[in-house]
């Protein structure tokens, strides 16, 4: 009951729940919600039994693409994504990291060409023993998910 008071129910759209509180605004940035005209509800620092404090995002009338969920998987791999139709969950979207990410994050190598010239970044996503790593297409360095910084859009 208390939950429903905090965040209004959604008729149609997407709910992204269990986002770690410190990752919420990264997800907001990935989805470029700053520029959206869809009704959105964003909550953060909400109590969570599983992860301490969490963030939640509800976007009305919009269903996320797999490309978008693939990007979210990079920063919040344990979030849950539910697609809502007529107040019911009609799809639980698995968070599978994208195979490649285009111009989403900076390369963490300070002497990579992408940090010095107007070159969009490109990373291959490598899955290695449960660790997700990003490999820069240009400088060929590999980085852990925790080392990467999102580009500001």
């Amino acid at each position: 009951m208390e939950k429903e008071l905090k965040v209004a129910a959604l008729r149609n759209g997407t709910v992204i729940d269990h986002i770690p509180a410190d990752k919420l605004f990264q997800v907001v940035s990935i989805l470029q919600l700053k520029n959206t005209n869809y009704p959105i509800t964003i909550g953060n620092n909400l109590e969570s039994k599983h992860i301490g404090t969490k963030g939640i995002i509800k976007i009305a009338d919009r269903i996320l693409s797999e490309d978008e969920t693939g990007k979210i998987a990079l920063v919040a791999p344990n979030a849950t994504i539910n697609i809502i139709g007529e107040y019911k969950v009609i799809e639980k979207r698995p968070l599978v990291p994208a195979d490649e990410v285009h111009d989403l994050v900076y390369c963490a190598n300070p002497v990579c060409i992408t940090n010095h010239q107007p070159v969009p970044t490109n990373f291959y996503v490598l899955k290695d023993n449960g660790h997700v790593k990003l490999k820069c297409r240009y400088c060929e360095r590999e980085f852990l998910r925790e080392e990467i910084k999102l580009k500001k859009k």
């Binding site: 390369c107 190598n109 002497v111 990579c112 060409i113 992408t114 010095h116 010239q117 107007p118 070159v119 290695d128 820069c136 297409r137 240009y138 400088c139 060929e140 360095r141 590999e142």
Partner: protein
């Protein structure tokens, strides 16, 4: 789509072997006119006299012409031109571009935007594939095969790009590795993972001594002073990692010692006369390998 050479991983085992085969052919007769009428640009955004002269000699001996610059200070990039624009401008004049750049990934980017083939002559600490191919050619020439060899890599295994590329390239040929480096300059984890994943056996040590007695190739690299925070530690390491002639006495008869040059202290001068020293011939082999590379990217050979 033209075929650039950016990274040694761009070439399959078959392509590596065919480059080495045509290098052997160029060694028999390095003076030809196969590049007659071709213009090759050498764009050196940072100086590297050795590599530039090797590429330019390779082209000139095949009858081609050279344009370019040997230092970014004399080029338009010092006026703030982007690499994209420089490459497009030069590709109006040249049939292929040999490029050295201090930034990592510059060669991959250039290859993506260039209408003509790019040959990477070194992009920062990342890749330097013509060096790797000449290393392979030297190994093949001295051992008669690339298969089943024990290769001992010594010195700066952390930052040394020649070492990393050699590990990747040799992975096609069932090698065993011995990695000998001071703790500060140990091989990065990702290459140990690479070896394990490819079933390549390796051992590690932190002292040189005679730890290479079962090796077929002793690959020495330069230990650079700048890499050490503690200069006392550098002095210690520098002396421990110097190969002296007497240290070679227990090594295998077929052992050859390679070094990408320039050497500073890593190999003492008394080794030069030993028949196991191969680093100067190795540099000469670079000429034939680069003739093969230029010919391949211009599709003059398969």
């Amino acid at each position: 789509m033209h075929k650039s050479l950016v990274s040694i991983t761009d070439y399959s085992k078959q392509e590596i072997l065919s480059i080495l085969e045509s290098a052997r052919d160029f060694e028999v007769n390095p003076n030809r006119k196969t590049l007659d009428g071709k213009v090759i640009a050498t764009l050196f955004f940072e100086p590297s006299t050795r590599t530039r002269l090797s590429f330019e000699t390779a082209v000139v001996r095949l009858g081609g012409s050279i344009i370019g610059f040997s230092d970014a200070a004399t080029s338009s990039s010092s006026k703030g031109e982007t690499l994209n624009d420089t490459i497009h401008m030069v590709s109006c004049y040249a049939d292929a571009i040999v490029m050295r750049h201090p930034l990592e990934g510059a060669a991959r980017y250039a290859a993506e935007v260039s209408p003509v083939p790019i040959i990477n002559a070194g992009d920062g600490a990342n890749q330097h594939p013509s060096q790797t191919l000449l290393d392979l050619y030297s190994i093949l020439k001295t051992q008669g095969t690339l298969e089943n060899l024990t290769i001992c890599l010594v010195g700066d295994l952390k930052y040394g790009r020649t070492v990393h590329s050699l590990i990747q390239a040799m992975s096609h040929f069932n090698p065993s590795f011995k990695f000998i480096a001071p703790d500060e300059l140990r091989l990065p984890d990702e290459y140990r993972v690479f070896c394990r994943r490819n079933g390549i056996p390796f051992t590690e040590a932190s002292e040189l001594n005679d730890n290479f007695n079962d090796a077929d190739i002793l690959y020495m690299t330069r230990v650079q002073k700048e890499r050490f925070l503690d200069q006392i530690e550098y002095e210690r390491v520098k002396n421990v990692y110097t190969l002296g002639n007497d240290m070679l006495s227990g090594s295998k008869p077929n052992l050859k010692s390679l070094h990408p040059l320039p050497r500073v202290n890593e190999i003492s001068m008394d080794v030069d006369k030993n028949e196991k020293a191969y680093y100067f011939q190795q540099a000469q082999n670079g000429l034939y390998v680069r003739q093969a590379i230029v010919s391949k990217v211009l599709e003059l050979i398969d």
